[in-house]
Amino acid sequence: MSPRVVAGPTGPRNSEEMTIALPGGALWGETLDALDAAGIDTSEARSDTRQLTYAAGDFTLVQMRPSDVPTYVEAGAADLGITGKDVLLEQRDRALYELLDLRYGACRMVLAGRSGDERLGETERRLGAMRIATKYPRIAERWFEETGRQAEVIEVKGSVELAPLVGLADGIIDLVATGRTLLENGLEVREDIAPSTARLVANRVSHKLRAREVDDLVERLRKATWT
């Protein structure tokens, strides 16, 4: 088969709307507020339907798990995406542009242990390594490597606070916003690893070929979230 020549102008496909991958869950509400403030009509996304994609003027909004956002954006299934910095740190080998700190959804990645309990230090001293449960195994491994310590990182998918309570781990690495969940489970912060907020990311090709539209949205979102 000979290669097919496709008619069309060189350059960006301005005719098509841009797709934005949005995080469901904790960031969903503030993300829609930010988009509204940036002049993007999110009424369809707010309506109580069970859709996964929503029309919003020049944009198509797609709702997904925050940790799936980098996957869709890297592959170009979405031109832009919003997700937490925690997700980007955990998936740091993704080829994405990180364009803007949206400043909402603030929380911290921390290492926590049982309150008033020296088990963390003790296991490190006597057994050579801490056992740490986390949903963020790559952030955890990097943290221990950077701080020159040995740890056994145990990946769990559900409530990570459970692990030290029943003796699966000596401590946890997790994202905390207010610290209430830690407190309720008798845990306390021992080390601060990194702050996290919502970020705007872009596909590498969309960032180049749809530069004007991308930059326009960055400016609108900057005005909406930085004031």
Partner: protein, 332 residues
């Protein structure tokens, strides 16, 4: 019986192979037309030789010993083997040298569509032709190659590997801090650049603005003017080389095909000066890249200045399919 193959490799069956062969023969046609003779080099090389490339992300991933105990590696690109070939086999010949290749290379990437651990690259190397004329010739061949495989909407991003670092030096940023900032740029982390720039002490507010704005500047010729307006002489000096490359490309009538990108960096360690990336609007991944590697040949004992590009054949094929879908009005 089901017998597995290693992760990141795949079998190619006749229907796909026919289309891949058509792409290859279109590319070879263009390479021939411009006088780039095709060469082949071994898939395996001495690890030591490949290490001359000193590239961070494309270090050979597959290494093994031969029967004599020598450490061998599967090549991770074609540029270094060709640099070796030229310095060894063409020591007394008169440059410039024009070579093309189509061959497999190997990288330890996480496998996904269009990004396998074993992949086909096609490209050219032009050795002994300095910037900007040599660079412009390579970009011309690249554009004709994209046209030949039907990707006439594809665009070549053009940047300069040293531009941002030079700008940091121009505005007086010390080397350690500059390393941190360039690392953020290499990771495409514009938020991180702002964080690092704001850590600098005693930075002039105008310089701060230039450092933050420049990596996002991309587009046509107006980008260079905007950059000059923003940063004055420091930017003028840092963008001089890019400007002359752009003028040489424009003189070939290819200005529309090129997207100037002041924030472009490539992760191959050997690039100096102009760098290229290829984008097609129908595909979310880059189709290939390249640039100048004026310093690389020195590591092989020659002082030839050189430039080249490589296209990922499998991605060209996917882009063709996506372009057909777009042309039919189908979903992305």
């Amino acid at each position: 019986m089901i017998h597995p193959i290693p992760p990141g490799t795949r079998d190619i069956l006749p229907d796909e192979m026919r289309e891949l062969r058509a792409i290859e023969s279109s590319l070879v046609g263009v390479f021939d037309e411009f006088g780039y003779g095709q060469v082949a080099t071994p898939t395996i090389e001495y690890d030591e030789v490949l290490k001359e490339g000193e590239s961070r992300d494309t270090d050979p991933a597959y290494r093994f010993f031969d029967e004599r105990g020598d450490l061998l590696a599967l090549r991770s690109d074609m540029t270094i083997p060709i640099a070796r070939l030229v310095s060894t086999r063409f020591r007394d010949a008169e440059p410039p040298f024009r070579f093309s290749y189509i061959g497999r290379a190997y990288r330890a990437v996480s496998p996904q569509r269009g990004q396998m651990r074993e992949f086909m690259q096609a490209g050219v190397e032009l050795l002994g032709a300095p910037a900007p004329a040599g660079t412009a010739e390579v970009i011309e061949v690249l554009c004709k190659a994209l046209d030949a495989v039907g990707l006439n909407r594809a665009v070549v991003g053009l940047g300069d590997a040293d531009l941002y670092r030079q700008l940091l030096t121009e505005v007086g940023v010390e080397e350690d801090a500059a390393d941190m900032i360039v690392a953020r740029l290499a990771a495409h982390d514009l938020v991180g650049i702002e964080t690092e720039v704001d850590r600098l002490e005693g930075l002039d507010p105008a310089a701060r603005k230039t450092l933050l704005r420049l990596p996002a500047m991309r587009g046509g010729a107006e980008v260079l003017e905007q950059a000059h307006e923003l940063g004055g002489d420091a930017v003028e000096r840092a963008t001089q080389r890019l400007q002359s490359t752009y003028e040489a490309v424009a003189a070939k009538g290819l200005a529309d095909r090129v997207l100037l990108d002041l924030g472009l960096l490539r992760d191959l360690g050997y690039y100096t000066g102009a760098i290229l990336e290829v984008y097609d609007p129908a595909l979310g991944h880059i189709l290939g890249g390249g640039g100048r590697y004026d310093g690389l040949m020195k590591r092989f004992g020659s002082d030839l200045r050189a430039a080249g590009f490589a296209l990922y054949i499998e991605r060209l094929h996917i882009a063709q399919a996506e372009e057909e879908r777009v042309a039919r009005g189908g979903p992305r």
